[in-house]
Symmetry: C2
Amino acid sequence: MIALDVMGGDRAPDATITGAIRWARSTGSKPILVGDLTIIHQLLDRGGEDPAAWTSVSAPVTVGMDAQPVKAIRSLPDASIRRCAELVKSGQAQALVSMGNTGAALAAGVIVVGRATGVERPGLAALLPGGPKPTLLIDVGANVEARPEHLRDFGLMGAIYQQQTFGIVEPRVGILSNGEEITKGSPLVRDAAVLLTESPLAFIGHVEPAVLYGDTADVIVCDGFTGNLVLKSLEATAEFAFDEVRKGVRRHPYALPGLALMYPALRSVRQSTDYAQYGGVPLLGVNGVVIIGHGRSNAVAVVNALNVAANGIRSNLVNRIAEGLTTIRR
Amino acid sequence: MIALDVMGGDRAPDATITGAIRWARSTGSKPILVGDLTIIHQLLDRGGEDPAAWTSVSAPVTVGMDAQPVKAIRSLPDASIRRCAELVKSGQAQALVSMGNTGAALAAGVIVVGRATGVERPGLAALLPGGPKPTLLIDVGANVEARPEHLRDFGLMGAIYQQQTFGIVEPRVGILSNGEEITKGSPLVRDAAVLLTESPLAFIGHVEPAVLYGDTADVIVCDGFTGNLVLKSLEATAEFAFDEVRKGVRRHPYALPGLALMYPALRSVRQSTDYAQYGGVPLLGVNGVVIIGHGRSNAVAVVNALNVAANGIRSNLVNRIAEGLTTIRR
């Protein structure tokens, strides 16, 4: 079962309930709806669904987008994201999906769901769709600080995710660095590179950010501070590009037909940095499938996130990561 | 006087000599030409200049783009970039300009020219032209590791550069972080933020990468590992955007007129991440003006870099940074 945080996200609860209904109709399974029961029943009813046929759990409190994540999770027992995490913790659900405050979903995953066996540090993974198959960047924000063995574990967790989700048989793992030479990188990078070389992973060495868009690596590891800044830099550049194009059209109205013709190419640029395109980013290394969608998610994104979560349950992602980490440490 | 590394850069020595001739004709000053004398004389001659009217210094060895920087500087006494640095060190020149191997120019600046009084760590600054005035990001690669006081000093050096070069009276200084809250950031970021708050600088706190494109900060400080990765992430995204647009045109030939119409807007996107637009990036905190241009620089970029260097000499940049650092430490 998947617990869906009905209250999280800029377009919730409309987008979340609509997404849940569409997903239920196409797959035949229903997620557990976690949120304000009155709203849930109203929206199900409006969507032509019988509320009695759905499992709903009352959690009327929404964690705001600018709330202090850890504090919110600890102090708000009725928060929808916390209740979702409790359902996973107790085994009533195997996965949770949230489009709400990323930090709060992260905190709920780490604190409430808890780490999987053998995992010291869960990592947040972003999927960058520039290449033929997405490149997974881990960690993009779960750990501001990390030790070399955490980066090696991120590599393993990311590789297992890529195997299970996209069928990449032997994922190529690189480490993000300020140069390709083995002498480059921070002490953390250099020490982690040694551990990755000794690991059973297909380690390809130091890689630079250009690789995020290519077909050179399937998994790229870094600490959460660096990964978060790199991801936000990609987003900021793509956002800036769109703004400039819009401004260009306003300044030169005769460019409007040009824009229309160029639209498919421009859309692919935007999608290339929209790491939510795959429905959401997985928090890897916790004791359940945790998928965190973008705050802007619409109903389609909610359907995608539910698919990703279902796939995580089906492929037994949590146990495979735990097994993998046990093997690597032997 | 400015020492110009004639041999450095993908288009050297043509672009460097052509740039030097154009700059000399427009300003009435001549740089010292450092490189292979036979080539220099030939190209001056071909450009309609009398070689005898120019100062040339023999340094026939070029440091390749993939040479090991520190090793090259130490082991190649006849390398043009090393000779340029020696001219600055001995006082025969006050500035050097190189379009060659960035690492080698950096090493020549730090090892041969040497640190300015009061400077512990020179920082490499990139100018990002997204906003109305460029935002200066420092350090983008001189120091893979840094301590909090180095980040504070980068803020001061960057602020002085922005004052002297772009007339920004009170530059706003931010620190690059994974969130705007004061509780965010690595320990380095949090400790440096305390020092910046206590400093006389106009410190605006933690900033995220989106600020690189706005008019929120004039100077953004970070360690050289993070800055290098952020800069390369911006470049990779802009590069990817251009490739996608090109591919889009190839797939949809009817989009070609669209591309032509959109060109001004797209060009502005590319320029926004082309930190070499201002002629080159300054290495701040060394005992002379060191301007490092992009390897791809053409003659126009060489002229711009020479202008930046001349401005650095005229505004007494080196002494102002030394004075500023002495004041901040009192």
